[in-house]
Amino acid sequence: MHKSLIIDAGKCTSCLQCEMACSYEHTGAFNPSRSRIKIIEVGHGERSIPYTCTQCADAWCQKACPTGAITVNLATGAKVVNNSTCVGCKVCTIACPFGTINFDQISGKVVKCNLCDGDPACAKVCPTDAITYGDANWTGMDKLRASAIKTDSGNQATA
């Protein structure tokens, strides 16, 4: 069973702990400019939206890559960039409709979320649970539960 990052923008305060954790995990430094997850602030901060790769089942980036550098980590389901074959052509960044795979000038390769091999650093540090890591088949479970409780009439249906 795979897990997904489950994002609830309504809980995000834009503290950027996730961006620091991501950059520390992948570069060894606190450096939000190299984070693979970004917080998008709307207006003057009325909304803060954590955004990163959702690991498409049928991934545009993977299909577009001319060198076959993007493969699936079967253990996590993550689409992973293999640096030895990536030539930095950036075609995948054009193909991705979501902007979540990007070129890194320092390495000369593209970078994207790889779910930290199944233990995502961003989800671990998020103080408000705006980012959690859970069942990939039930990313809507929190909303489903909330909606079920809200719409429950209190009466048991009878035959």
């Binding site: 950027l16 450096n31 003057h44 901060g45």
Partner: protein
Amino acid sequence: MAWANNVLRVNLTKGTCISEPLNMEWAEAYMGERGLGTKYLWENMDPQADPLGPDNVLIFATGPLTGTMAPTSGRYAVLCKGPLTGAIACSNSGGKFGAELKFAGYDLVLIEGRSESPVYLNIVDDKVELLAATDIWGTTVWHTEAWIKKTHNDPLIRVASCGEAGENLCRYACIVNDLHRAAGRSGVGAVMGSKNLKAISVRGTKGVTATHPEKFMDVVHECHRVLAESEGRKALTELGTNDMIDMMQEFGGLPTRNFDDVQFAGTDKINPSAMFEVKANGHRNMVTNKACFGCTIACGRIAHIDENHFSIVNKPEYRMASGGLEYETAYAFGPLLGVDDIDALTYAGYMTNEHGYDPISFGGTLAAAMELYEMGVITDADTDGVALNFGSAEALTIMSEKTGKGEGFGKILAMGSRLMCEKYGHPEIAMHVKGQEFAGYDSRVLQGMGLGYATSNRGACHLKHAVFDEDMEDISGNGKAEPCKTSQDHVAAMDSTGLCLFVEGAGMNIGHFVDLLSADLPTSWSQERMMETGERVWNLERRFNLAAGLTAADDTLPKRLLEVPAPSGSGKGKVSELAQMLPEYYKARGWTEDGRLTNELIERLGL
């Protein structure tokens, strides 16, 4: 290590931007941010310089923890000689700008001279340029930030700028970063404006690395855990700093109508409950809470104004959400003016952010103007026809806009209470220390706070000491001198780290700071070293002020607090016991009886 080992020296007169190595000897002795900035200021300018002249030096200083994963690591301090006070100014701010400066590879930016024409300083890692600000001069903080991001086609740029208030040399203009976080006090924005420097814009891609990364991360996780579990943290997250208004109301320490009273009947209309209340038309003031960089508390408020409110009914551009009420803004626009209209307070808060000026000093100055108006000293002829009565939400909203834009009576309000009241021949009406207006705590009931106000190196300020618990337990001035001195040193050390003071009330303690610093920096830290550093910082600030011409006579409070008893509350009938506390405080500091530093002290602290 967490230092970038790089100081950017910008000379606006010559148009030069030169990098130099960070003076590590000073960093060891003064830590960073407030402390290190004070040392650089002391070594780089004449304290007798005109605060609004080219010889004033304006410093943006980060701390050793700024930009790290330690909670609340977004802070930077702005230092210069303050135009409101003539004393050292040190105002710190959160948001995201400070961390970005560190990511670009600068520990400190030091600005000298004055540009002939308006410029902004654009920093993209090693590329540093002074660019023409002609298109943004005369425009707001909000416009400036949007314009810079659009012009450089980069939404990730962080901007700190002065609004029109800074350009117009409003004595309490601030520097605003990230739209609604500010280095708020003592007029640092006017110094920026006087230099023809509109903004600093930064993009940084270099990152920050701790000296001992794994050890550092262990401490970070422990800090996260402590904050997550703390009741103090939960209260700050849920209620914000304005939770204080109910506490001060109940205690009777809430300055009301220019300190005529210490309790205000209208707090339930402007407190956190009011911010969360859903009105009959479905409007709720509070939108969400928001964090500064790295902060797992998120005490910041994002709020919006009821679109039917008179302040914005013809101004659709203010129907969006923006920075909402913090305690000091709520106090200075609410009780201090006798206004209980939450939308008017929120609107005036927008004005202070958009045009760039300090809400505390503005509230204090408008309160003095209202008293002068009710005394008949000033009339409608002075106030552009606006009736400046206590309790008038209209007066607040109109004057907040005029002050921001530098129009009409707003130009008089921009002088600050001391100069304004001197102008009208009633200096006793101005409620200030060293020219700076008071935060929302009355010195007649909070005695240690009063001593802290009187001795704060930047004029009246609630953030340079922390004897709140002692004051709540005992409303006398007995035994307040020593704790006041100790907490001033403690806070000076905290302010020099790059973290936010609020982490202490939210569960962290000095031990966490020691552990963070020791993992972050090449040399190890201890509580003793931190406290000695704080004492060193405090005394160097004092030395700056004495050299600037201030004396023990400036360590005082207005007569109203020394002679007119509090009319209600826990301290009913009491006045400030400053006369008793101040000599004890000088003694605790090891100063002479007239408040000067001894040679022995200067030598011990290595000043």
